[in-house]
């Protein structure tokens, strides 16, 4: 035991292999691979000394599809359906960022009502994603009710999205220029009543899941990420907000109509697994307030989509825009050479940057902490591989 502590004290570097060659055969290499109930479509190799992890090597790329390359062969509107596949639950946000970048490139002005509907879809999708993330967190800790309840409550929001967009999950709703269609009749009242139901359920989640002594034992004080390390590692989203850095792209660089909405950035100061699992719940509650304000301030009528030419193209140039998705700052950097198809699209996702913290946090932890730490980093494997 003491040798592990000595190694941990002597090495403050980030996730470097520091086991001496002579002691290598004491370790057992485990491949927490893609075929594992505890890792999603993601592989990482860990070396275990008894019950303690001494080395972790993430190995993404299992679900790499070449999203960025595929963008170069389709025009800017045709890119939307395949760009929302990296994270199907949060599809409004990943296409929101793309639409903003394209609008800046081509020079499109989005009508006001369209901006509001886009924001509503983005907030609803944020909740869909976070509830699913919470459900998987329950599975990783062995709590099957924590899987069933959020997944069931997700259906409420997915029904709303189906009424709004026509599809449940990958709806291709945000396009450059606005949204595809207007809200149906009675959507506003229905949305408000479902938001009330969800707010009631979040209180129940707090009582049953977060105040559960076993849940707290497993997550409190585990894998603390200090504020300096969080900034140095460059993590984003709920992970950095749980380490007392109140950074939210919607407040730092407001896009569309977010500068007219009044909301707080929720953050916690402890930086352990419990904070990282609690901040998304606070984000979801904040999201409910945002949706109420959006529905109030929305213009009663108007266009929802700017009229575009058949193959929209703009002058050669580049643009970079980012939004706050369920996992963190999601940015698009698009280079155009004057043709309808983009020359280069670079997607910068929060998951890939949060993955950097994984070797650093897993060092010296028990094997039983591995799922709790790994999933608390709000990592979505498909998005990180794009």
């Amino acid at each position: 035991m003491t040798s592990i502590e000595e190694k941990f004290e002597e090495s403050k570097r980030l996730g470097l292999q520091i086991v001496k060659e002579s002691e290598e055969d004491r370790l057992m290499t485990l491949s927490v691979g893609p075929q594992h109930p505890g890792s999603g479509h993601f592989r990482f190799v860990i070396k275990v000394d008894g019950d303690y992890i001494v080395y972790c090597d993430p190995d993404p790329g299992y679900v790499h599809r070449g999203e960025e390359k595929m963008c170069e062969y389709r025009n800017v509107i045709q890119n939307i359906p395949h760009l929302e596949r990296p994270v199907i639950h949060d599809s409004a946000n990943i296409t929101y960022s793309y639409s903003l970048a394209v609008e800046e490139l081509v020079g499109i002005e989005v009508p006001r009502r369209g901006q509001f509907i886009r924001a509503i879809a983005s907030e609803l999708n944020r909740q869909v994603y976070t509830l699913y993330w919470l459900a998987i967190y329950g599975i990783f800790l062995g709590h099957s009710t924590m899987f069933m309840w959020p997944t069931g409550d997700r259906e409420v929001i997915i029904d709303l999205l189906e009424a709004l967009t026509g599809a449940r999950v990958t709806h291709a709703f945000n396009i450059p220029g606005g949204v595809r269609n207007d809200m149906p009749e009675g959507f506003r009242d229905r949305c408000l009543s479902q938001i009330r139901y969800l707010q009631k359920r979040f209180k129940e989640y707090e009582d049953i899941f977060y105040n559960n002594p076993l849940f707290r034992q497993r997550t409190e004080g585990v894998a603390v990420l200090s504020k300096e390390d969080a900034i140095k590692l460059g993590v984003t989203g709920s992970v950095v907000r749980a380490s007392s850095v109140p950074f939210d792209v919607r407040k730092a660089e407001p896009y569309d109509i977010y500068n007219e909405i009044d909301f707080k950035v929720q953050y916690m100061k402890t930086g352990d697994c419990f904070a990282r699992s609690y901040v998304p719940l606070l984000d979801m509650q904040e999201s409910c307030y945002i949706i109420e304000q959006l529905l109030d301030k929305m213009p009663a009528s108007g266009e929802v989509r700017a009229k575009l030419q058949p193959n929209p193209k703009g002058p050669p140039g580049e643009s970079y825009r980012r939004v706050e998705s369920g996992r963190g700052a999601l940015g698009y950097y698009i280079v155009s050479d004057g043709t309808p198809k983009p020359y280069r699209v670079k997607i910068s996702v929060g998951s890939f940057r949060n993955m950097l913290a994984l070797p650093y946090l897993l060092f010296g932890k028990r094997l039983a902490d591995m799922p709790a730490v790994y999933w608390s980093l709000n990592y979505w494997p498909v998005e990180a591989d794009r």
Binding site: P37, M148, L214, D369
Partner: protein, 427 residues
């Protein structure tokens, strides 16, 4: 199941049926009948009204109901009936099957869903049958490099050990397979086999995840045996005997022990959850960390046997809880003295098969066992999984201290004359 091969020929089908009947007749005539005669030569046959029950007497007496009833009565008294039907294997297996089904439905209702619904007309009641058939028909994959002898025999040993614990449990006065004077000690001795089986099986699987799971199972099962035994020790102090039937008798004479020993009952309950590897103590098969723990390499009927053994163990430990703390089969008499009144001159004396005390005892025992089983299913919907260091800390420190506290309470009750022979609360 409705598909047949493309080149199906009816003639070939009939020929294969005839071959099947031929082989059945050959095997029955040349192998089965001699075996039956050899067995009957050695097995002592029971007596019916002074006559030895030969197969000839059996076949002639079952023709008429009035002569069949004494035969059935004799058969009910044999040890074979106790082993095979009640309170032995059939009873335990039926309760295990009902437990599995109730667990899935109960858990589903807690989680806002429905559970199995489609197998069988009423709410998926045939789901177990479907799962059993599926497991039988699956291919059993043996990992290469595994120790084949232990890999095949460990699941069977698991079910056999669980069945051995069932053999010691009395379900009604006089209805126990093995009436040992040190019954409680025998139960703990048999329970000590389970960590060994888990470790052997995980070692024989020749794979990393079962290895980790087996070590965790070893740690957990051994750590919780001590609070388990200590909490049952307080019951032994109060009742003065290790014989399980007499423990229940002493509870019938005074009051149920759970009123005097609530802390012991709680410790026993937590320890039995840990012994059964149920959530929140299912570290040996923690899905998210070690795939399926020491059950990773099981497939097909090997997995089915391990699940069967696990649920039979659940019944055994729940029944033990009922016997030690909840008064066994004690309960108000709700069965009538005779099921058919004024049947002294009946032609078919069916009512001689019915015994009021046994029926009442069996009913209350089953009801209480089901109640305790539901209590054991409850944490599955409520808690996440515990971590191994917290588990060992809880098992070694907190539970042993609690068990000792209640043991001192029990000693005080005995020395204070409240319980025990001639005590204040003894009726």
């Amino acid at each position: 199941m409705a598909s047949y091969p493309r080149d199906f020929r009816f003639g070939g089908f009939v020929v294969s049926l005839i071959w099947l009947i031929f082989w059945i007749l050959i095997i029955v005539a040349l192998v089965g009948l001699p075996l039956i005669f050899i067995i009957l030569f050695y097995v002592p046959l029971p007596e019916v009204d002074g006559e030895v029950l030969t197969p000839y007497l059996f076949l002639t007496s079952i023709l008429y109901p009035q002569s069949a009833i004494p035969v059935i009565e004799t058969l009910l008294d044999t040890t074979f009936f106790k082993v095979a039907v009640f309170p032995g294997f059939t009873y335990a297996a039926l309760i295990a099957a009902a437990t599995i089904f109730i667990e899935r439905k109960f858990l589903a209702k807690m989680q806002l869903r429905v559970g199995p619904l489609y197998a069988g007309k009423i709410e998926g009641i045939l789901q177990l049958l479907a799962d059993g058939l599926k497991l039988i028909s699956k291919e059993i994959i043996i990992p290469s490099g595994s120790d084949k002898l232990i890999f095949w025999s460990a699941p069977i040993a698991f079910v056999a050990t669980a069945a051995a614990v069932v053999a010691l449990i009395p379900a009604a006065p006089g209805w126990v397979v093995a009436d040992i004077d040190v019954g409680l000690l025998a139960v703990f001795a048999i329970l000590g086999f389970f960590p060994l089986i888990a470790l052997l099986f995980s070692w024989a699987s020749n794979s990393k995840y079962p290895f980790i799971g087996g070590l965790r199972a070893l740690h957990q099962l051994i750590a919780f045996e001590i609070p388990f035994i200590l909490s049952a020790l307080s019951v032994v102090i109060l009742s003065g005997t290790l014989n399980l039937t007499e423990v229940v008798e002493s509870q019938i004479q005074s009051y149920w022990f759970i009123f005097f020993l609530p802390i012991s009952a709680f410790v026993f309950y937590i320890s039995s959850l840990a012994e059964l590897e149920r959530i929140p103590f299912d570290l040996p098969e923690a899905e998210a960390e070690i795939v399926a723990g020491w059950l990773t390499e099981t497939s097909g009927m090997i997995y089915g046997l391990l699940q069967l053994g696990s649920y039979i163990k659940t019944y055994a430990l729940a029944a033990l809880f009922v016997i030690l703390f909840l008064g066994g089969w004690a309960g108000p008499q709700i069965f009538p003295a005779e099921i058919i009144p004024e049947s002294a001159e009946a032609i078919i004396p069916v009512s001689e098969l019915y015994e009021q005390t046994d029926a009442n005892a069996a009913f209350w025992f089953t009801l209480k066992t089901f109640g305790v089983i539901m209590l054991m299913l409850l944490p599955r919907g409520i808690s996440p999984r515990i971590r191994i260091d917290i588990l060992l800390h809880t098992g070694w420190y907190k539970l042993i201290v609690l068990a000792f506290i209640n043991m001192f309470v029990a000693l005080a009750l005995i020395y204070g004359g409240v319980l025990g022979p001639g005590g204040l609360l003894v009726r």
